[in-house]
């Protein structure tokens, strides 16, 4: 490794990155704390005290934890079910592709899609509750619907965490146990499951964090009876114009979010027994599941996949009829609406996503490369700081940006820049992680071989390292773009008359009860995102020479 001291280019890059991190990560967070802990120039804990004594807010806090706990548990179980079936079910390729697609849909959708589909299905005039079962006066809002909707939205994260882990378990270990006389169930219980436990813990924590931070689903579905922190913080700011109150509420989210992040990163992830190399382990030397079990697993997966597919078809249908539940005549009027009235939101979103994508991609591989391959003071700290905005719930980041960039000299509210910066520093870290993971897989002898053949460090980077980490670059591009199209929790605080986003328009449509345009917007976003994923997939195949490492599970963040 070469130090920053004898490489001016590295020193310059490190300096610029630190400046950016200070400005867009540390400074906003510091301002958030300052706003909470000061009042008219003096230090005060009065704000915190109010929070701790307000029963309504305490309820929101515990509701958030309860919901996250439930979603974490159920989502992990569901994710494991899918991962195990995919890894051990000896499924034909086409079936795997279908399962993958159905499972990935929720991950790449705008945040309200399952929530809208829940209302369409189980609302007072819902397809299932009213039309099918004839129930009247049903209320869809509350814990049950929020929980189901979040589980369906987030369980793919667990699937993506667990599937490579299960695939990487050396099948000979299971075969060995089997040959020692253990039954299939016993092999599963005493070998497969224990080897997966760190992965299960990891998946649980990721889901816990996702649910804790989720803003969109509870906003639509939780209703008055089940307040949670992110929505309370939002309502405090937009409804009561109480920025400080919102800041205090968002900080209440910080503690559990931080605990989960540290636990996930520094405890669970170091306890893996199985190394995921990206290289598939050999085939299981015995049928690790019996035909009956296989059929049951497949049926369970198919049922859940069908629910997901049903939700999305329903959304498509709703976008093409006058009013779902009332008038099912075919119409394109909702699409006309979004392409006329909604055109500004579409244009703005595409511009912002288009700007954030390359910036986030470059930021990801640059920082990932520097912290893995170059020795400079504080590189661990840099990696950690870079992860902060990624790990924190969007509500915190959004409110922090709102507070920090509202006044001169850094008055950025109302500009596209603030939204772009938010996306780059919030979703660019996916690229950082992908880069670090890829670089750690690349044997150092490759770079030594290049060096031995006469290449200097610059030529080695350009000719060997860079081509090998291109997949991480594209992954970074993809994630930043997708999230720029679908995110809302942070940026809802940052939109303005000048710059708005599709997701914000969807929310407005829902609150105005124009569900048709909301559905049309959602369909459009899903279509654009799928097109971009296809494009990135094509680029990955083009730039990934045979033999390079496969990049999977990149959308899990």
């Amino acid at each position: 490794m070469k130090g920053a001291r004898n490489d001016p280019a590295v020193a310059a890059a490190v300096f610029v990155l630190w400046a950016l991190l200070a400005l867009f990560v540390i400074y906003p967070l510091a301002m958030l704390f300052a706003r909470v802990l000061t009042d008219q120039g003096g230090f005060t804990t009065a704000g915190l005290a109010t929070l701790l004594t307000d029963r309504h807010q305490i309820r929101a806090f515990f509701n958030s934890l309860l919901l996250a706990l439930m979603v974490g548990t159920a989502g992990t179980v569901l994710g494991f079910l899918f991962a195990f079936t995919a890894a051990r079910g000896r499924l034909p390729r086409w079936l795997l592709t279908i399962i993958d697609a159905a499972v990935l849909l929720p991950l790449v959708s705008p945040p309200f899609t399952t929530a809208i589909a829940m209302i369409f299905s189980f609302g007072p005039r819902g397809l299932i509750t009213y039309d099918l079962l004839g129930l009247k006066g049903v209320t869809v809002y509350g814990l049950a619907s929020t929980f189901s909707s979040e589980v369906l939205t987030f369980f793919p994260i667990a699937y993506l965490t667990l599937r490579p882990l299960l695939a990487a378990i050396d099948s000979n270990v299971e075969g060995m146990a089997f040959s020692l006389g253990a039954s299939r169930w016993r092999v599963f219980r005493t070998v497969t499951l224990p080897l997966t436990i760190p992965g299960l813990a990891n998946a649980f924590l990721l889901l816990f964090a996702a649910s804790l931070a989720d803003f969109a689903t509870p906003l639509i579905l939780a209703g008055n009876q089940f307040p949670v922190l992110p929505t309370q913080a939002y309502l405090q700011i937009t409804g009561l114009f109480d920025l400080r109150g919102g800041a205090i509420l968002s900080l209440a989210l910080l503690l559990p979010a931080l605990a989960v992040f540290l636990l996930q990163r520094y405890w669970v992830s170091r306890r893996y027994y199985v190394t995921i190399t990206g290289k598939g382990a050999g085939h299981t030397p015995f049928d690790s599941i019996s035909p009956t079990v296989r059929a049951v697993l497949l049926a369970a997966c198919a049922a859940i996949a069908l629910v997901v597919v049903y939700f999305y078809l329903l959304l498509l249908y709703a976008s093409l009829v006058v009013a779902l539940g009332a008038d099912h005549a075919f119409t394109l009027r909702h699409y006309r609406v979004i392409f006329t009235d909604g055109w500004k939101a579409i244009g703005d979103t595409l511009i912002i996503a288009g700007l954030a994508m390359p910036l986030g991609g470059v930021y990801g591989i640059l920082l990932g490369y520097l912290v893995t391959k170059k020795a400079f003071a504080g590189r661990r700290a840099m990696e950690l700081v870079a992860m902060i905005n990624y790990a924190l719930p969007g509500t915190i980041v959004g409110i922090a940006y709102l507070i920090a960039f509202n006044e001169a000299p850094l008055e950025l509210t109302g500009t596209a820049l603030i939204i772009v910066a938010c996306y780059v520093f919030r979703y660019g870290p996916t690229g950082i992680r992908a880069t670090v993971a890829l670089l750690q897989q690349i044997d150092k002898s490759l770079e030594e071989a290049s060096q031995g053949l006469g290449a200097g460090s610059g030529a080695t980077f350009r000719r060997v390292t860079l081509p090998l980490i291109m997949p991480a670059f594209f992954a970074g591009l993809g994630v930043v773009f997708i999230r720029s199209m679908t995110a809302i929790s942070a940026t809802i605080f940052l939109v303005s008359i000048g710059w708005t986003l599709i997701t914000v328009r969807i929310l407005e449509n829902i609150t105005e009860l124009s569900l048709g345009p909301a559905a049309a917007f959602s369909v459009l976003v899903v279509a654009i995102v799928f097109a971009v994923i296809a494009l990135i997939g094509w680029a990955l195949r083009r730039f990934r020479a045979p033999g390079a490492m496969p990049m999977t599970s990149l959308l899990g963040g």
């Binding site: 002898s445 071989a449 060096q451 000719r463 390079a548």
Partner: protein
């Protein structure tokens, strides 16, 4: 290109070990590789041979000592300025580049013209028997083919020194024998000074002009394969290079090159080591299994019983008990009638000039 020698002058490298504290991976290693010579560093894993090789290549910085290429001190030169060809144990082929581009890599770095590169790469691929493989990728190649690409990539730049780090350990036994012969032939043809690292003594003997045996970071003996095999300087070398019987004895008389030793209840004549022996001194005798002759019947001074027999096709390995000690013996298979059954009484005779007194004094 002029062929140069390599001098390694007191190279040392220390590591902080988690359990043992600070240890020497290499300790005052001295080597003098003559121009065009094939020298092998032989030793068990952890003996410091790879560390030494990597310091010669410039991949590791020594804590002390110098590396000289043709008299020029290259100790402070990074690997990319040393003009070396290095073949890695895992081949380290660039997975994103074709065979052609892998081999062309060093030439592209040297900014050669495209047609010159195409010619050089074509020539060297033909040389290693991979003509027609240009557009393949490493993932599509067998282990032996990958090995040849790695070799082609290393020699195409016409390196001053060729370095091999256990290049054959990932190949199966048959291929290993074939590849080591090819490496040796190629090295002779190109006359490139070569340093080769292996833990396989047979491989070392097959390819090398000279072998340096390493143990615990130091070179313990240097010489031709015959030197090491017949005149091991220490018990370690004797055990590591080939198999042997170690027999305790006592010096009876010394007469020039030859000594008489009391051992196995009789008198054995042996070759004397470099140092002086005094009558009455306790010594260890080294007898290689192939020098232990087994004669049917009981017509000799050394009577023995066959304890076990291992049939290996071309040869048969016996263990016999003789004066309370177990000796290993190897006989070439002369035919089915030549086998001696287990439990049979035999006579043991040592081939003339085959018994050596271990040079190391008894502790």
């Amino acid at each position: 290109m002029e062929t140069i020698g390599v001098q390694v002058d007191g190279l040392s490298k220390r590591y902080a070990h988690r359990v043992k504290g600070e240890i020497y991976a290499a300790r005052d290693v001295r080597l003098d590789v003559r121009p065009g010579e094939f020298l092998t560093l032989l030793g068990p894993s952890g003996c410091g041979k790879t560390t030494t090789l990597r310091m010669i290549a410039g991949y590791e910085k020594p804590d002390a000592g110098r590396v000289l290429f043709g008299g020029e001190d290259v100790t402070d030169l990074p690997a990319n300025k040393r003009n070396i060809g290095f073949v890695f144990q895992n081949y380290a082929l660039f997975p994103h580049l074709s065979v052609f581009e892998n081999v062309a890599y060093g030439l592209r770095v040297r900014a050669q013209a495209n047609d010159a590169i195409a010619k050089s790469v074509g020539d060297v691929l033909a040389l290693v028997g991979l003509a027609g493989y240009e557009q393949q990728f490493s993932a599509q190649l067998s282990g032996g083919e990958q090995q040849r690409v790695a070799l082609a990539r290393a020699i195409v730049i016409r390196p001053r020194v060729l370095l091999f780090d256990e290049p054959l350990s990932n190949l199966d036994a048959k291929l290993r024998v074939q590849m080591r012969q090819e490496i040796r032939d190629l090295q002779r043809r190109l006359a490139i000074t070569t340093i080769y690292v292996t833990h396989d003594q047979e491989e070392a003997m097959a390819v090398s002009d000279r072998i340096a045996v390493m143990h615990q970071g130091s070179v313990v003996q240097e010489g031709t394969a015959e030197d090491l095999y017949h005149r091991p300087a220490s018990r370690f070398v004797a055990q590591f290079v080939g198999r042997m019987n170690l027999v305790a004895g006592r010096v009876e008389s010394v007469a020039g090159e030859s000594v008489q030793i009391a051992a196995l209840g009789t008198q054995v004549s042996a070759r004397a080591p470099q140092r002086r022996l005094t009558p009455g001194e306790a010594v260890q005798l080294i007898v290689r299994p192939e020098s232990v002759e087994l004669l049917r019947g009981d017509g000799g001074p050394l009577r023995a019983t066959v304890v076990s027999r291992t049939f290996l096709g071309e040869k048969i390995e016996y263990v016999v008990r003789c004066a309370g000690e177990e000796l290993q013996a190897v006989r070439y298979n002369a035919g089915a009638g030549d086998l001696i059954p287990e439990g049979a009484a035999v006579c043991v005779r040592f081939a003339a000039d085959a018994v050596t007194v271990l040079a190391e004094p008894q502790a």
